[in-house]
């Protein structure tokens, strides 16, 4: 089996310095020590699963650089750099681009008039790229990406502000299996998911609110924020093992396990 590779960025400068999603409130700042420990726990859990973790250098003034999932979309050795919707995060792009360029990827860009937030909104399940739009990414951007990649792209409208990225409400487990929170999609979106993914595990609202869908999948192991008990049970029945890591410091910024990672060698669920 190939060694899974994941990009992470230590939370040296992590904090709630602005508010760009409903979870963020500058009055509920992150506890730096606790945040560092939780990040370390996630890191160690992944290493224990045999993941080769690559580290980026944190940058002062870029608190959300820890959320590497939003850097862009990795496809083979091609890296499609994000076009962030918010100026606060647009400043991260040069650092992500530099890292990928230095590590053997070809950095590519989307047209200037679309927003696209990388693996936060674009996830392969099998050969299909499922892509969230409306809140952070534009449907037009995903469609463009589909043309460039010559892959099927199914844009899904995100209708609940709390689940502002696709990876907060949808997580492919295997090429034919995924977990999702139905309430984050409209009837069209639910139909598309149900029609194209044979095996689905629905997450209940109170666990979805704790970012249960924002999970990191490594083989049959699923690393998820603590407190997703019902999902853990459903995963167990489906033949997966659920590993809990407390990540509540990151939920304050609207992120959890998945957001803190970016798979560099293709998700296990992806067929490229």
């Amino acid at each position: 089996m190939k060694t899974p590779r994941i990009l992470m960025c230590p939370p040296d400068y992590y904090g709630i310095e602005y508010e760009i999603n409903p979870w963020m409130s500058r009055s509920r700042g992150a506890a730096p020590e606790r945040a560092r420990q939780q990040w370390r726990d996630l890191h160690d859990a992944l290493v224990k699963l045999g993941v080769q973790v690559e580290l980026m250098t944190p940058q002062p003034g870029l608190p959300d650089l820890v959320f590497t999932a939003n850097a862009g979309l990795v496809f083979g050795t091609r890296f499609f750099s994000s076009r962030f919707a918010h100026p606060e995060r647009q400043r991260e792009t040069p650092f992500f681009d530099a890292w990928f360029a230095e590590h053997g990827f070809t950095v590519e860009r989307l047209p200037y008039d679309v927003y696209f937030e990388g693996a936060g909104d674009a996830l392969f399940c099998g050969p299909i790229l499922f892509a969230g739009y409306r809140i952070r990414s534009h449907a037009a951007g995903h469609i463009h990406l589909g043309n460039v990649l010559q892959r099927r792209v199914l844009p899904l409208e995100l209708v609940d502000k709390r689940f502002y990225h696709l990876d907060t409400c949808f997580c492919p487990l295997a090429p034919d299996e995924a977990i999702y929170f139905p309430g984050a999609f409209d009837a069209y979106g639910r139909t598309v998911i149900e029609k194209h993914i044979p095996k689905l595990i629905a997450v209940v609202e109170n666990e979805a609110e704790r970012f249960a869908c924002n999970a990191v999948v490594v083989g049959k192991k699923v690393v998820v924020n603590a407190g997703s008990d019902r999902l853990a049970e459903d995963l167990r029945k489906a033949g997966y093992e659920c590993l809990s890591v407390e990540l509540d410091e990151y939920i304050k910024a609207g992120g959890s396990a998945k957001c803190l990672t970016l798979r560099l060698d293709g998700e296990d669920a992806a067929i490229w």
């Binding site: 602005y18 508010e19 760009i20 999603n21 409903p22 963020m24 409130s25 500058r26 009055s27 919707a85 918010h86 200037y112 008039d113 050969p127 739009y133 409306r134 809140i135 952070r136 534009h138 449907a139 037009a140 995903h142 469609i143 589909g146 043309n147 010559q150 892959r151 099927r152 792209v153 199914l154 844009p155 899904l156 409208e157 502000k161 502002y164 069209y188 139909t191 598309v192 029609k195 194209h196």
Partner: protein
């Protein structure tokens, strides 16, 4: 026979529009908004990976309806067959927009000029957008300021409003900004507001206070004076009444004729506010009265002492008014627009008129706390589009007392 729909635009939708249900979704959007469509051309992908492409002609009864449809389908990835800059018309008269003018929101907006998207400056709701074609810039402009031959943006083409969420800096107090309720714990709210004020200050942004006369009637003058002395008030908006009763208290110890220390009406007290106005008018204004040593305490006194700019906007029921009151509402609006620049936080206390007026001028990114004993005032503000508002239903005095105490910690 039904009248033929004569407003037409062609869009293109491509990608995996069948599998993703984007095509039916877009068609539904057109129909639910009262338009009709004709699929002019559809190329279906031969294999599952191949994208499909549809050219759809949309027809509507009016330009407005067409713009509405275009806006809705754009979100699902449909693009006008021709990607175009924003459209503009030269104003054909002073003081009014061309008929099809684009009406602004208080959210961040961009227009496409010469192929580039540029931010619209001076974002304000219920305005139009005027272009500077040479500099390739755009800004909001109020109807009354339109000059003949200015290029004014019309229609929705080449205009985009940043996702509501951008404005969701506004979601500052998201977890409590739900419905306005008199039954929420005030302590938490006050702490939050105090923390925001401190942060605003630290960020070098200005704090704006919009105050009604009840601030004086409830005996809160000392708290506002304290805020000024602590450096937590940079701009004051009010009307004739706040200044009048504040000065009445400074000169006579009463507000609307009621002794503020005893809560009892003073003999002939109903004349006090008019006598106060008269005195100030005789002295040549509030600032003159302070300089000459006749006005020695109160909010207006502290404003003059600390060089805090204040805008007193007049209304039809004003007595006097005080010489500094701006009686031309359009002039008052402009002065308020000027003073709003650089404001990062605004608290509005016990005034519906001035709160809504200020709310209309503030971009959605400026956080607002609205304090009123009447829940309807707070609701009205939000209903008029100032959704960045946190409402606190309470009497002015206890709120301000608690706020000052919080700020001192």
């Amino acid at each position: 026979m039904a009248k033929a729909k004569s407003f037409v635009e062609e869009i293109e939708l491509q990608g995996h529009i069948i599998d993703s249900l984007l095509l039916p979704k877009v068609l539904d959007e057109i129909l639910t908004r009262g338009g009709t469509y004709t699929i002019k051309k559809i190329d279906l992908g031969r294999q599952r990976e191949d994208p499909s492409k549809a050219k759809i002609e949309i027809k509507a009864d009016s330009q407005e309806q067409l713009d509405d449809i275009m806006e809705a389908v754009h979100d699902h990835g449909a693009v006008p067959t021709l990607q175009r800059d924003c459209e503009f018309e030269l104003a054909d008269m002073n003081g009014a927009f061309p008929e099809r003018f684009y009406s602004t929101t208080n959210f961040r907006t961009q227009v496409r000029i010469g192929g580039d998207w540029v931010d619209v400056d001076d974002q304000e709701m219920d305005c139009g957008i005027v272009l500077d074609l040479k500099k390739q810039t755009a800004r909001c402009i109020a109807m009354v300021h339109v000059k003949k031959n200015q290029p004014i943006v019309v229609g929705h083409q080449g205009v985009r409003v940043m996702p509501a969420e951008t404005a969701a800096r506004t979601s500052l107090f998201e977890f409590m900004s739900s419905a306005v309720s008199s039954e929420k714990p005030k302590g938490v709210t006050v702490r939050e507001i105090a923390a925001t004020i401190k942060r605003t200050k630290a960020a070098g942004e200005k704090i704006l206070a919009v105050l009604g006369p009840a601030v004086v009637h409830t005996g809160s003058v000392e708290h506002i004076c304290e805020l000024i002395k602590l450096g937590y008030l940079d701009v004051l908006f009010a009307g004739n009444a706040l200044a009048t009763h504040d000065i009445e208290q400074a000169l006579f110890g009463t507000s609307l004729g009621v002794w503020l220390d005893r809560g009892l009406p003073a003999e002939e007290g109903h004349e006090h506010h008019l006598r106060a106005i008269n005195t100030i008018r005789r002295l040549g204004g509030i600032e003159a009265a302070v300089k000459k040593g006749n006005l020695k305490s109160g909010i207006m006194f502290e404003c003059v002492q600390h060089a805090i700019p204040f805008v007193l906007a007049g209304s039809i029921r004003d007595d006097g008014p005080l010489p500094e009151v701006i009686t031309d509402t359009l002039v008052a609006q402009d002065v308020m627009r000027e003073k709003i620049k650089g404001v990062g936080f605004c608290f509005m206390i016990a005034t519906m008129l001035h709160s809504i007026a200020t709310g209309n001028l503030l971009p959605a990114a400026v956080k607002v706390a609205c304090v009123d004993i009447n829940p309807a005032t707070v609701t009205k503000l939000a209903d008029r589009g100032s959704q960045q508002t946190v409402g606190v239903v309470t009497d002015a005095e206890p709120f301000l007392r608690a706020l000052v105490a919080e700020l001192k910690t």
